[in-house]
Amino acid sequence: MASAFEPNASTVLLAHGSGGTMMKRIIDEVFYSIYGGEILLKGDDAACLPAPAPGERLAFSTDSFVVTPHFFPGGDIGRLAVCGTVNDVATSGAKPLYLSCGFILEEGFPLSDLRRICESMAAAAKEAGVQIVTGDTKVVNRGHGDGVFINTSGVGVIPAGRELSGANCQPGDVVLVSGAIGDHGIAIISTREDLAFQTSIQSDAAPLNQLIANVCKAAPHVRCFRDPTRGGMASTCNEIAQQSGVDIHIQEDAVPVHEQVMGACDMLGYDVFQVANEGKMICVVPADEAQAALAAMQASPYGQEAAIVGEVREGTGKAFLRTAFGAVRVLDMLVGEQLPRIC
């Protein structure tokens, strides 16, 4: 077991969060060397960023990531931490620019895993065109964390005149989804240690800021974007319907779902509309811009399976699902946690 003063420790030690030489070492050798970037490497306590131009606005969002396992098919906690916040910022129509990154590490966490997570964050940030400009590291005693928790906050700039909100939707508008739903949630559940079943489903974790920018260009009157993460598409549709005071009607067989995901949901007793996504967008546009928005999504690397899935109607803030057999049922929000069933 390495001592707290061991310079070549292979795991995270309490001293890595102590403010002393060990902390400087982990900052230099892991975070600075992997993230790089002029603003971060200045080493000041605060990142100083250029102010937006007159008429532009700032979008600001934060998210914390506590997923286990830390590495899963199609991604890892680092990629999630970047994509999640980039996507939240981008839903406002902003161009995401800067991220902060706070790590809470558990004593004994392998430094090789930390490096792998940071490299994944750097790659996702590069792909999204954002910079990690400030950060923080804390270490908690062994047994007081789950290896690693990450918080990221993001800042982006909204162009002048762009006002997207879940409260903008109007009867007659059209609902799109940027691709097949449920991949992330099923990929994660398939790797949970006590729940070993095998699939080749990969998490869809991806930065969608480019896709959103393309849709904004193609459909200038787009009402809103929302990423259907926890709670899945069911929660997102309900949230938008409530914010706008309208009803949302989804056509069940129009929603893309990969066959393996459907199979896993059938087996586990899950509702695919309540399964989490990390690389999908729900988008509402005026009907006359729907085809242009769809084409813009499908032209993006993460939107090839995009589809028009429903419409907005007058109503009282509810979401409905029309089944392939013509029955209409309530599309409910998830209550508690989805749990695998017995048989």
Binding site: E259, A327, V328, P340, R341, I342, C343
Partner: protein
């Protein structure tokens, strides 16, 4: 073999079957009961109740393994989770179900080690990885899951894995059907029989329904086309005035079932009387460990302190499980009792009748 499941959801086939069902519907109606929670969910999800002909009623029976588990058994599982140095492994459905005063979810929040697994064999892995703890698997479910638990116990015995045991609350389907069809409060004209239970036990255990009571039964699967095909075959039998046990789910069920699984189940377990929520004590409707494997009995080993049983006030789950009341007829349904604030187990479990009716309620 890959299977194109889309065929079993094909709207054109569905439409044709609905027409057949309407053509065959008896003038004086028919009460058809499904006794599998997955069927309950499938029927609710596709909204088939609303497309049945006048008088053809689909009743939901005691098909949810969690729901039929009596409160005393839930309390016992909770008491086991409070035993020192014990890890509870369970299928996910069980953890939210309320007992008399608590639930496994609440016990977990209070510090109990409760883990969701997908197979009883996963419980053995947990036992191997935690040699200093006693690992209890909650054995709940029908013939679909009982052979898996039997396989796990056999393996544990072979490996000498002494720190694992089971809480045995398994139940069997056929003996309970005998009670249901004799219920004076519920007229059952025919039965939709469970697909996966029948994969294990085959056709034979249901024969008495047709032979002794003249009640037709059709074993079917869970896709929309399967369910409707099963109903159409039932109505055809009623139309022809005959009663037999037929299979509409040939891709999943063979007439003889799975003799290997049945043999394994019988090697480890023997039948015993079991207490069903809503139905009470039914002779030979449960399973207990045979004496040679009794050392794997969690209750014997850990001697948990089980609290006195209290039934939830105003809850009609017991009546609903017998098909004598629909969830919507319960005065708590959708008001005092919702998935967020469930009063009884039928609203909690993903396969419970009330949860199915609520989740897929129509507009």
């Amino acid at each position: 073999m890959t299977l194109d499941l889309k065929r079993f959801k094909d709207p054109a086939l569905v439409k044709g079957l609905i027409e057949t069902i309407h053509r065959l519907a008896p003038a004086d109606g028919a009460n058809i009961m499904e006794v599998c929670g997955t069927h309950t969910m499938a029927i609710a999800r596709s909204g088939f109740r609303s497309v049945m002909p006048q008088g053809v009623k689909l009743l939901s029976g005691p098909g949810c393994p969690v729901c039929v588990t009596a409160n005393h058994e839930i309390d016992t599982a909770i008491a086991l989770s409070r035993c020192p140095n014990t890890i509870i492994t369970t299928f996910g459905d069980m953890i939210r179900v309320p007992g008399s005063t608590s639930s496994l979810l609440k016990e977990k929040a209070a510090g109990a080690d409760v883990r969701v697994v997908y197979s009883p064999l996963d419980a053995l892995r947990v036992a191997r990885e935690n040699p200093a703890s006693t690992v209890v698997f909650l054995g709940v479910g029908f013939e679909t899951t009982t052979p898996l638990v039997a396989a796990a116990i056999k393996r544990a015995a072979t490996e000498g894995l002494d720190n694992c045991c089971i809480f045995c609350a398994h139940k069997n389907v056929p003996n309970t059907l005998d009670v249901l069809v004799n219920d004076p409060q519920v007229r059952i004209d025919a039965l939709i029989l469970p697909g996966h239970v029948s994969t294990i036990i085959g056709v034979e255990p249901y024969r008495f329904l047709a032979d002794k009571y003249g009640i037709p039964g059709v074993i079917t699967g869970f896709e929309p086309v399967d369910v409707l095909q099963g109903i159409a075959m039932i109505l055809q039998q009623l139309h022809d005035g005959r009663a037999s046990i037929e299979i509409a789910y040939a891709r999943g069920v063979m007439p003889q079932g799975n003799p290997t699984a049945v043999a394994l189940m019988n090697e480890i377990f023997e039948t015993c009387d079991a207490n069903w929520r809503g139905l009470g004590m039914i002779p030979n409707s449960g399973y207990k460990l045979r004496p040679a494997f009794a050392r794997f009995d969690a209750v014997e080993r850990l001697q948990p302190q089980v609290e006195p049983t209290k039934e939830p006030k105003g809850c009609s789950c017991g009546t609903i499980l017998r098909g004598a009341m629909t969830p919507e007829e319960c005065k708590l349904f959708g008001r005092a009792c919702t998935p967020e604030h469930p009063v009884g187990p039928c609203m909690v479990s993903s396969e419970g009748s009330c949860a199915a009716y609520y989740k897929y309620r129509r507009v």
